[in-house]
Symmetry: C2
Subunit: 326 residues, 2 copies
């Protein structure tokens, strides 16, 4: 009910009478009053004027179920949101919930991750309380061998959200990072539980450095936060909602098409290192080639110095730019 009341107040953008809230939600005055009290404790400044009703004068910078849930459009694909103050890893928790039967469209968010996961079981460091750590459970009716494309769909959605919400110039580092000023601002970790020809569930984990102001000496040359890049505090819930809405649209197109042709042009236009020399590391061997961008299956095309065109399957290789980006 908290999310519903918050949504009504948020959408109206003016005073809503207590009577109105009671009638539309079918609850008592006391119940409404309890929620208002709770919201105030969470940092919402809510004005209450006799004969006019309630009005939200200002919103807290909360990364929370209520903020995200009440801001998502009503026809969202997000079915439920699990919020954690601190957790080991949202991907790990998402897997646990999925094994226990969590449905398609379950979102897991955490204010702090203490054992964030990077690719191949690596550690992923993020400052608590300033970052977006979230994981999305999806159960699409697709073949496991195209699931890898979802990393690109999410990357594109994050890029669009950053451009729209923050007017920040971001780039994608294929396949799973988003860069600002050539430094990493976001990583995506897609995991899957599958039979040979059947997806049990997919987890898309997203970590974004949002309002951090510094990094460890090991990371400071490689990582950046949105605040460091823009000079402005960024509302994490707003950005999350924007990402989820972009993702919903792109995901729908992807499911219908079964490939990522629809985003190829835009992806390549924002691809770090495109038409430039990149270093390709593939199972111990290394070569330098020219990045030609992705194809409709989301694979990266790289032309070697011998003119041979290589099609790189997601992550068989790591690609590093030679023009400064990490």
């Amino acid at each position: 009910m908290k999310t519903k009341i918050l949504r009504m107040l948020r959408e109206t953008k003016q005073f809503v009478s207590g009577q109105d809230l009671c009638e539309r939600l079918g609850v008592s005055r006391t119940a409404v009053w309890k929620v208002i009290k709770q919201l105030r404790e969470e940092g919402y400044q809510i004005e209450a004027i006799q004969n006019k009703g309630y009005y939200i004068a200002s919103y807290p910078e909360n990364f929370s179920e209520s903020e995200i849930g009440s801001s998502l459009s009503e026809n969202t694909f997000i079915q439920s949101i699990y919020e954690y103050l601190e957790i080991d890893s949202t991907n790990r928790q998402a897997k646990k919930l999925a094994e226990e039967g969590a449905t398609n469209g379950t979102l897991i968010i955490a204010n702090k991750q203490n054992q964030g996961k990077g690719r191949r079981g690596r550690h992923w460091e993020m400052e608590g309380g300033t970052a977006i750590a979230m994981s999305l459970i999806l159960k699409p009716d697709i073949m496991p061998n195209i699931a890898s494309m979802l990393t690109l769909v999410m990357g594109m959605s994050i890029l669009e959200a950053c451009q729209k919400t923050l007017a920040v110039e971001a780039q994608i580092k294929w396949p799973n990072d988003v860069l600002v000023n050539g430094k990493k601002v976001c990583g995506i970790l897609t995991e899957m539980s599958a039979e040979i020809d059947y997806v049990n569930y997919i987890i898309i984990g997203v970590g974004i450095n949002v309002n951090g102001t510094s990094f460890s000496s090991e990371l400071e040359n490689k990582a950046i936060s949105l605040k460091m890049a823009t000079g402005k505090q960024v509302n994490r819930s707003e950005l999350t909602v924007s990402i989820l809405e972009k993702f919903q649209k792109n995901y729908q197109v992807f499911l219908e098409a079964g490939n990522v042709q629809f985003l190829m042009k835009q992806y390549n236009a924002n691809l770090a290192g495109i038409n430039n020399k990149v270093r390709v590391l593939n199972l111990g061997t290394e070569y330098i080639g020219t990045s030609l961008g992705i194809n409709e299956r989301g694979e990266l095309l790289v032309e070697g110095s011998d003119g041979v065109r290589h099609t790189i399957y997601s992550g068989e290789v790591s690609v590093r730019g030679m023009d400064g980006y990490i």
Copy 2:
């Protein structure tokens, strides 16, 4: 220690003195005596003669950790065995153990499954106490997109074990069943947890109808047990050991090659429906073609009546023979 003592008695095939057992295991007489007592309670007939020692006169038909563990060769890849009297599903339990950190080479066996899993979440029915229900946890350094071939590697190993141990004429129904007399005797369910380019773990589940004597009316035309086919009681632990030893060999070759070319010839020689008409169901459409057998990637080649050759990726389709097999 139970498994070690059992292995020593089993391998020697004659009397082993208590002193000898104590020295080789570095334990007390009392400890050895306790294990002997325990083994007797489990159904082992152990003779004990003064000045000669212990000797196993007969083995129980136990599907157990000690029977399997003590029969596997010393250089087995099986690192540990979890034994359950009754469990929901060995694949489900294997996933749980893998998420909790179980290592490569963990085997889960159950005397009875009450919620056996078939493909795509379907139910898989097996009589308790007479079947083999087991799941193997593997963590190979392979790309997720070749993991599907492991179903074929296991299928081949089961076929070899049946031929060797039981001298029974089995066939493979691509991709994941083993047939005897055209009826299903075994199903394989391979599941995987993976990142795009990294396998977290693979579970290969195997269900074999071993000593059952009847099936529900729904299944009796489609299913058969090894006992029904051979007229003989089959020792489940022995068969399991034989399968695991065949698998270990085939798995090693597969890991080195990255494909199933090494077993293609033998697989196709035992493939149900090869060079015969099969019905291919693919995403709602259906056609009849001639099965030409698998290729080195484990895909099934089917030639349509129009002469067009189709390469069928594991399970995008279901293939049914028109010559009687299920």
